[in-house]
Symmetry: C2
Subunit: 238 residues, 2 copies
DNA sequence: CAGTATCCGATGCGATACTG
DNA sequence: CAGTATCGCATCGGATACTG
């Protein structure tokens, strides 16, 4: 594999040799959004086999993109990007931007899943807009297909410091209730459609005190009109 | 192949699905630097088989990245990037920058070849520095390995309007003569080493009138000290 | 020149089972 | 949980030959 582009000294070839392997961009995406443990990565790329993920991690380590350190306390390792690995952030961001602008038509029903959506909201949350008080949001998704990776009900618990994802009732009163068709919500969250349209059409309903609803929409990044939003890939503790 | 990253709606996945295939980044690099004809592309990616190149071009067309139009006059087609295809320029530039900074150690002896080097000089020439008069440069490379794609002697004919690559004596008096070890020259051109060192060491010799030599170094982008230079990928007529 | 068609060997990778 | 080992198939892609 390392001699993939032998005969070519161009920097594009050298970078592509390590980066443009199957699954690797998605693994890098996960590492850049903060995944550290083997199973964090698995959650982010659930359809990749364990064996292949392990293989890719070895290749990335060999290429100097990540470092593997044994976990203190429990089994397994932590995988973290080296400086060279962090250097791929602009590549991921450029791919993401292309996907935002040109990839809309490629999102099919099979691509939808609530896990990725909810964790995506967390990874790309607008932290500067987090509220001073605790804000609890309950999601109930309709139109959910792939049952395995797709729970219907989720919670986000947003505080000044963090946004937590929960699959069980977190024990706090719910401030905002979102009932939405999964496809509609995904498209709005990606900026492919405006929230206004989806609300008007009824494919998304958001209930709660006006100020809470607004705060939620800000934190998560839901906009009234379609928007190409540059997703930022910055490590966030998982 | 199009269902490669099914289950993932993320824009990074959508972009990677079309872009992160084997050879595709290099094909895109060629298209972005102005290649239009099948054999232009072959020259740029000589180790890719014809069958595979044809297949990739079809995939790119199907993905809306390029348009194929029959050639008026002669056989074959022209392949040109669509607007969506041009959207990959930032991705290529980000990969190139990564390769500039982190890919140095990966350039092995087998990667060297004069064809790519000389055409690379043309593709990434500093057009704003082109001289008012005609400047003819003769190259004689030492340490050339892969004989097939690597002629030892080349000429560049630089005018106000263009930089032409020749494999035969162009018939004009030679203003600058470059004798150089291929590896040394490649590394200096990429900015991995400084020209000063290579000249001192004797691995590169440049002869000619001082002003001609300086003009040549400017046009091609040879710098006294190591430099990370951002290669620009802008279509240039071939 | 600008590809297409066919063959066939390498390997990529998914599935399954196993381990500390 | 955090991987490793093994198997077997599918497909990728290189080599060669053919075509308008």
């Amino acid at each position: 594999m390392s001699k993939d582009y032998a005969g070519d000294f161009c920097p594009v070839a050298k970078a592509s040799e390590v980066f443009a392997q199957r699954w690797t961009p998605l693994v890098m995406r996960e590492l850049l959004t903060g995944a550290r443990r083997f199973n964090d990565l698995r959650n982010g790329v659930p359809l990749m086999s364990r064996a292949l993920l392990a293989q890719r991690l070895k290749e990335l380590e060999h290429a100097g993109i990540i470092e593997t350190v044994p976990c203190a306390g429990r089994a397994g390792h932590e995988y973290r990007l080296t400086v060279a690995g962090l250097g791929f952030r602009p590549v991921i961001e450029a791919l993401s931007l292309w996907g935002q602008v040109w990839g809309q038509g490629r999102v099919g029903p099979d691509d939808l899943n609530t896990t990725q959506l909810v964790w995506g909201m967390r990874h790309h949350a607008h932290r500067t807009d987090f509220p001073d008080r605790r804000l609890v949001v309950r999601f109930e998704f309709r139109g959910v297909r792939r049952t395995e990776m797709s729970r219907r009900v989720w919670w986000l618990v947003i505080t000044r410091a963090d946004m937590e994802v929960c699959v069980k009732y977190p024990g706090f009163a719910e401030d905002v209730l979102v009932r939405a068709d999964l496809g509609a919500f995904t498209r709005v969250w990606l900026g492919y459609r405006g929230l206004r349209d989806a609300l008007a059409e009824g494919s998304i309903e958001i209930e709660g005190k006006r100020s809470d609803v607004v705060a939620f929409e800000r934190c998560v990044g839901l906009f009234a009109e379609p928007t190409v939003k540059k997703l930022r890939f910055e490590p966030v503790a998982v």
